[in-house]
């Protein structure tokens, strides 16, 4: 099948063309073709249920048996298509999304497709815009057990893909989620989805990080008995011991983990796999499948002289873990952090909060190459962290068993011969010392796989991560699945949640004896919400809300949450910025028809093009549009809508009111004539319709009557 074609769409279109061409000559063949087409149409339009595929297959059997060669041929084609792509047909029915977008009504929004956990963002953002926060959280928790955690620390790939970002700035999806979760928890409306009946089968999860907890949540919902083994004394993994409390308060994690306990998930803390428990022992306890999400907790070494000579040279991951576990000791009066990623930033800002007077980050490249989030870097600098760019650590200097300085070399970015990327090259003779009492290395982590030594047959990648099929998260050992940082290397919270969710689906299939899918699951459309009505001007001038933050003195001295959260008004307004790309598929038909067929060019929607967006201005429509309705009539999804409301005609795009004008009525019968601009446009085109100015306004029927009367009076019989 060619790239980006959908088998459901292909089958339906081919059948429709044959029907239109009158290929099925027998009445029964034609009737069966119509019935199969209707059922396929239901599937491609999001209206199908569990009976649709069996019903189609039943009709195909009858259809094939007809003594009509075109019928037999078409029935066989559809039969073969379904057999080859049953997964896709079923996915259309289950998810109400068509990943290719060919079935236009089911084209998913880019934000939802981008989210590694597949959250239905347009639906929950609209619910938040309506003030229905608890329902929004219900929608989110169908795809992600931790909306509050994600609302505070997600790296938000959805916002990078947000179509609003092509107009001005993306919708602040992450913070909307945080608000809704907090409000929902506060009003005691934060609840678990309904569980399936108990299956009587047990699954063991090793690691209580985001991947492990996500897998536990979905398996518990499916009715499995789930036990999570965790080496630390609490749940959360890296989100608990790797992310500092000023970004993610412990209460947020505890409250969301408690929801898993309510589902019946059991935890065994302070229990290390490979030490306190073994695979054989767990199998003897009756666990039938295992999921490993042990994370990537081992730091890379700096590999410079002096690194192992002083206790004040510490690894960022251990440092952050100690602080999270309550050991809040200042690492030194002056601290140097080596690295430029988010962990380095976290270590630097944590050092400040523990009382360090000078905190310097030594980073070997330039600001442009820093992998840390821009917002995190800005906040760190505001708090007083200094960043020394193009600085390569060369040696840890010390005296009497204590670190006194980090010797560094200046670097310059150079493109090596034949190389494609610039690398930092040391400048000879540029050595300098940064005086310090402690050095914290934060140059990355890897998987510490010592605890998995007993898993004979487990395969590892050359990146030292567990080798899995990333669709099903199966490892090389049957019944053992893995996800999270242990598979991807250090990655994001939402990727870990998505991996855990995929693994749960795969474990369910494994234990039910169902074959694993060939491609990643398509995210599920959780609803089709009515639009939030917003005037075009408001839509244009609403700017992305800025997050209020804690005052700088508290940020330098306490672990209080830095980002204070949006106010209710900010949240409702921000939600109104959403363009509802779950309905508008940006096909551009409306723009094309308005510009090229009608010659009006009233739609300025430059965001349609992913690669080269041009400016967008919804306000232009009100200036130029004649409200002819051609755009709405040709919109394949109903995103563009025209309607008469009282004495006005209103054009809207996904709730954005693009144009509204007074209607003119027939002076005789009061039938709707259209708007003045529309009548003027028609008059210019035909020179026969009544002008809006001067002449009496009559509909065609009344004009005819009047002319007939005149003829009757003036023409002799």
């Amino acid at each position: 099948m060619a790239e980006n074609t959908c088998p459901v769409y292909e089958a339906r279109i081919r059948l429709k063309e044959a029907l239109d061409a009158g290929e099925f000559k027998t009445p029964k063949g034609h009737r069966l073709a119509e019935e199969v087409h209707d059922l396929l149409f239901d599937i491609s339009w999001g209206r199908a249920g569990s009976e649709h595929l069996p019903a189609i297959e039943h009709l195909l059997m009858e259809w094939t048996s007809l003594a009509d060669p075109p019928s037999q041929q078409m029935a066989r084609f559809i039969r073969t298509t379904i057999d080859a792509d049953r997964e896709t047909f079923q996915s259309h029915i289950d998810t109400h999304n068509c990943a290719t977008g060919a079935c236009v009504k089911l084209a998913p929004a880019p934000c939802q497709m981008t989210c590694p956990a597949g959250l239905d963002i347009p639906t929950y953002v609209t619910l938040i815009g309506m003030g229905r926060d608890a329902e929004a959280i219900d929608v989110i928790r169908k795809d992600c057990p931790f909306p509050w955690v994600c609302g505070l620390v997600c790296t938000r790939p959805c916002e990078f893909m947000c179509v609003r970002g092509r107009m001005d700035e993306p919708v602040s999806i992450k913070f909307l989620k945080a608000f809704a979760a907090e409000r929902s928890m506060s009003t005691r409306l934060y609840r678990n989805p309904e569980k399936e009946p108990d299956k009587g089968q047990k699954v063991c999860i090793v690691g209580a990080g985001p991947a492990g907890l996500s897998c536990a949540y979905y398996l518990a919902l499916k009715g499995y008995g789930v036990t999570v083994i965790e080496a630390l004394p609490m749940a959360g993994g890296m989100i608990m011991v790797g992310i500092p409390r000023y970004r993610l308060p412990r209460e947020v994690i505890d409250r969301e983990v408690a929801m898993l306990e309510d589902l019946g998930v059991a935890f065994r803390f302070d229990t290390a796999f490979g030490k306190d428990v073994t695979l054989e022992g767990l199998k003897a306890e009756g666990f039938e499948a295992f999921f490993f999400a042990i994370g990537a907790h081992r730091s890379y070494k700096l590999n410079i002289p002096g690194e192992t000579d002083y206790p004040q040279v510490i690894e960022a991951v251990s440092f952050l873990k100690d602080v999270a576990l309550g050991r809040r000791h200042r690492p030194g009066r002056r601290v140097v952090i080596v690295g430029g990623g988010n962990v380095a930033i976290d270590a630097a800002r944590t050092s400040l909060r523990l009382g360090a007077e000078e905190v310097v980050m030594a980073y070997r490249r330039t600001r442009a190459e820093m992998p840390a989030d821009v917002e995190e870097v800005e906040q760190a600098e505001e708090e007083g962290v200094e960043i020394s760019f193009l600085t390569i650590p060369a040696q840890v200097i010390g005296r009497d068993g204590r670190v006194t300085a980090l010797r560094c070399i200046r670097a310059e970015m150079k493109e090596p011969e034949g190389g494609k990327r610039k690398v930092p090259v040391p400048i000879e003779g540029s050595d300098f010392d940064i005086e310090t009492d402690a050095v914290i290395s934060a140059i990355g982590q890897q998987v510490d796989h010592g605890c998995l030594a007993e898993l004979i047959g487990l395969k590892w990648t050359r990146r030292n991560t567990i080798e899995t099929n990333t669709v099903s998260m199966e490892t090389a050992i049957p019944g053992i699945f893995a996800a999270g940082d242990a598979v991807s290397g250090p990655a994001t919270v939402i990727e870990a949640i998505g991996g855990g969710k995929r693994a749960a689906l795969a474990i369910d299939r494994y234990l039910s004896g169902i074959p694993q899918p060939r491609s990643r699951p398509v995210p599920v459309r959780r609803g089709r919400m009515p639009f939030l009505e917003v005037p075009a001007t408001t839509k244009m001038i609403l700017k992305r809300a800025a997050m209020p933050v804690l005052n700088i003195d508290r940020r330098r001295t306490t672990f209080q949450q830095v980002e204070l959260g949006f106010t209710e008004n900010m949240v409702r307004e921000e939600a109104r910025r959403c363009l509802r790309c779950d309905v508008c598929i940006r096909c551009g038909k409306c723009v094309d028809i308005c510009r090229n067929k009608m010659g009006i060019d009233a739609l300025s929607m430059g965001y349609i093009d992913f690669d080269r967006p041009t400016p967008t201005d919804y306000r232009i429509t009100a200036e130029r549009c004649i409200l002819c309705g051609a755009c709405a009539a040709n919109c394949p999804t109903g995103a563009m809508h025209i309607e008469d409301r009282g004495d006005e005609r209103v054009l809207s795009l996904c709730g954005t009111l693009l144009n509204r004008q007074k209607l003119l009525f027939c002076q005789e019968c009061h039938a709707v004539l259209g708007t003045a601009r529309y009548l003027e446009f028609i008059r210019k085109q035909t020179a026969s319709a009544p002008s809006a100015i001067g002449a009496p306004l009559l509909c065609v029927a009344c004009q005819r009557k009047r002319h007939a009367g005149i003829h009757d009076e003036t023409t002799p019989v």
Binding site: P110, S519, F610
Partner: protein
Amino acid sequence: MAFHKGQKVEVFQRSQDEAWEAYMDELIGRHGIITDPDTVINDPESLVEVSINGKGTFRLPQDCLRVLS
């Protein structure tokens, strides 16, 4: 680091890396945005997180990606 967060990229070829899986062939020719660059140790060998327009988010080897101007 060759890729920065927010850069538009194209999956221009199949990667020879072991991390490339068969289903990723359908990503070739698609455009996307870097959402999480190689945060580990600025390693050209590390996988980067890319959101591919209309396809989803993937961790891909860097040799299959090129920056769109």
